[in-house]
């Protein structure tokens, strides 16, 4: 115990140079390109980016669930120290649900419509623990109360269509928590919910994390949610990490022009009547990604090497990294 505590950051998820490709327009394109991530026990890492930037594929790669014809090409993924890419199938099945769990965006479709909610949670419990049906049901009832489902016992026998979206998302969370995973991957957990329910679910995730000491990999495009929940932030753009660091640094003093543009475009920061700033252009499809920095064709400060050489990580501080030639140049100039 003391040894575990002595290590400053015990990593529950460690992704190194992960590349995942899909065949697009007749060629294999890396939609996730040399992405590295770390999630330490008990912390929340927010993976932020626009649709199609590779956030979800990164998460699915980590669970070894990339749908065909997608392929994890290279990199190492460790969940709780286990090498995900080389684990036998049955071992991997034990890791899923036990060490890491996931909740999805659409609570409307992520529950089986012909099974009661209770039966689905019971199934999740009995997959990983040798307990009787009655005991699993009791645990499921306890989980339901824990995720804030009122009248938990009765709700065990409810079918998904009898519950509201927020309740269904709570059932999903209960299922994901069944085996007390050390890491919860939340893929846009509140996108499909209305604002008041969003706040409730975020509050629930926060309190569960506090009580269970669970780490969360939060995948979102909503900077507001990042602000609510995240300890650290990784910003993804077009399959690559653009900027990564503590929330305060990345959201408070963003260095990457994409992060800066993203934050400037938030409605909350503009005065009433003022026009929101936007990032010019649109995210190109994977087949048209620039060969240098992926953001170079939309970047306001792009200069000579940007469209030909891919930027490497530049450390702004010990914990704050930016993948940008301009930042590297400025830092290099200021400290010769």
């Amino acid at each position: 115990m003391s040894e575990a505590r002595a290590r400053a950051r015990e990593l529950v998820l460690e992704v190194r140079d992960l590349s995942t490709s899909f065949p697009i327009d007749g060629a294999r394109r890396r939609v996730v390109d040399r992405v590295s991530l770390e999630v330490a026990a008990g912390e929340t890492l927010a993976l932020v980016g626009e649709s199609g930037c590779g956030k979800s594929v990164t998460a699915l790669s980590a669970m070894r669930l990339v749908p065909k014809p997608g392929l994890v090409e290279s990199g190492t993924i460790r969940i709780g120290g286990k090498d995900v890419r080389t684990l036998p199938v049955t071992e991997m099945r034990r890791v899923r649900g036990n060490d890491v769990s996931m909740i999805f965006q659409e609570p409307m479709t992520s529950l089986n419509p012909v099974q009661t909610c209770g039966a689905q949670v019971v199934e999740g419990i009995r997959l990983h623990h040798r307990v009787s049906n009655a005991e699993a049901r009791r645990q499921a009832g306890a989980l339901f109360s824990q995720v804030g489902i009122p009248d938990a016992e009765a709700r065990l026998d409810a079918y998904p269509h009898q519950l509201s979206g927020g309740m269904r998302q709570r059932v999903m969370i209960a299922m994901a928590l069944a085996s007390r995973p050390r890491l919860l991957i939340a893929d846009e957990p509140t996108t499909a919910l209305d604002v008041t329910i969003q706040a409730q679910i975020l509050e629930l995730l926060r309190s569960l994390q506090r009580d269970l000491g669970m780490a969360i990999l939060l995948i979102t495009h909503d900077v507001g949610i990042v602000n609510e929940l995240a300890d650290r932030v990784a910003v993804m753009y077009a399959g690559r990490i653009a900027e990564e660091g503590p929330r305060r640094d990345v959201l408070g003093a963003p260095r990457h022009p994409y992060t800066q543009g993203l934050l400037r475009s938030l409605p909350g920061r503009a005065a009433p009547g003022e026009r929101l700033e936007e990032i010019p252009g649109v995210v190109p499809p994977p087949s048209q990604w620039p060969s240098g920095c992926r953001f170079s064709n939309r970047c306001p400060i792009a200069f000579e090497p940007c469209d030909s050489i891919e930027p490497e990580r530049t450390a702004v501080s010990a914990v704050h990294g930016v993948w940008c030639h301009a930042v590297a140049r400025d830092l290099g100039a200021s400290e010769p």
Partner: protein, 344 residues
């Protein structure tokens, strides 16, 4: 084992299964709601189908009398033969020598007095059998055709359709090739060829109907499996560490059940009608309404016309098909996910 003992055992097993299924359905709000809705929409059709099932069930319970008290010396063939509950509604020697009209007191030809004057509600056929009795016994044959064939078709279609849809790739190509090949052959020719090869008899005819009949359901199941395997709850089950086989069993197959039930209800009447067609071609099943219709066909040209034979069997058939189709329509309305939410 004696055929009637086997029949009794199967009937008992089916009755227990049916009772268990009904009990389970009663406890489950989803099914209870569907059942209630079904009874509300089509009360008559549901009762008619239930009545046919009851008649067929009663006709499947048979036993041998120790002394065969009703049997007379001259109809010695009845001695030691198993008689069903339906048979017992009629006297054991309830047979004339030839045709007689409904409620007639004399034979149609020859004017000989009948053994049971005025007792044959629907007359007798060429060899003097009571038409009402035969018609009632036809219900069992019809339900056996529909039921046994469905028992072949549904598991086969589920197995083939789900594995093709789930695994995809080469297996799917192979399955689709077989299905297209079967579908491109004229069904009737295929049926005749199969019965030629398998021989006639209830099981053989049902097997032949099954082999020609599974493609439609398998196609539906395959397409639906394709759809389901991309759904979030399948992915969610994977994320929780569920094995593929278990996902198929717990999450895919139950979500196909509405398709299976709807198809079963629609298939059933088609199968009973197919047997009529086969009887007309001379390869049907003994004792079926198809056989009766086939035999009665030539009698229509007689003078005076013999209509009761044809009327009884085709009316019984017509009412069953009509009721089953109505129930099938209602089942689809109640269970189809697009309309089910409104019903509940």
């Amino acid at each position: 084992m004696e055929p009637h003992v086997l029949s009794n055992l199967i009937t008992a097993a089916l009755a227990i299964l049916l009772a268990a299924a009904l009990l389970r359905a009663r406890r489950d709000p989803l099914w209870r709601g569907a059942g209630r809705e079904l009874a509300r929409r089509r009360p008559i059709a549901v009762s008619v189908v239930a009545l046919y099932v009851l008649i067929a069930g009663l006709d499947s319970i048979a036993w041998v009398d120790g002394h065969a008290p009703g049997a007379k010396a001259e109809s010695g063939t009845l001695q030691g033969q198993a008689r069903s509950v339906i048979d017992r509604l009629f006297p054991a020697d309830f047979q004339e020598r030839s045709y007689s009209a409904p409620l007639a007191t004399h034979e149609l030809y020859g004017e000989e007095p009948l053994l049971h004057p005025g007792k044959h509600l629907l007359g007798t056929n060429m060899i003097g059998q009571d038409v009402l009795h035969l018609t009632l016994k036809g219900a069992r044959v019809a339900l056996v055709i529909g039921g046994l064939t469905s028992a072949i078709v549904i598991p086969l279609a589920l197995l083939v359709g789900v594995s093709a849809g789930w695994v995809g790739g080469r297996l799917d190509d192979a399955v689709f090739f077989v299905m297209s090949t079967l579908a491109s052959m004229p069904t009737l020719l295929l049926l005749i060829a199969l019965i030629m090869a398998l021989g006639t008899g209830t099981t053989q005819v049902c097997l032949a109907l099954g082999i020609t009949g599974w493609v439609g359901l398998a196609r539906l199941v395959r397409a639906e499996t394709f759809k389901i395997r991309e759904l979030d709850y399948v992915q969610a089950a994977r994320v929780l560490g569920t094995s593929e086989l278990r996902i198929v069993w717990r999450h895919v197959v139950p979500n196909l059940m509405h398709l299976v039930l709807i198809t079963f209800a629609l298939l059933f009447s088609g199968l009973v009608l197919s047997e009529v067609m086969l009887s007309w071609l001379g390869i049907g099943i003994d004792g079926s309404w198809g056989r009766m219709i086939d035999q009665a066909r030539s009698e229509l040209s007689r003078e005076p016309v013999i209509w009761w034979n044809l009327l009884a069997s085709s009316t019984a058939l017509f009412i069953l098909i009509l009721a089953v189709n109505q129930v099938a329509d209602a089942v689809r309305d109640v269970l189809d996910p697009r309309t089910a939410l409104e019903a509940l």
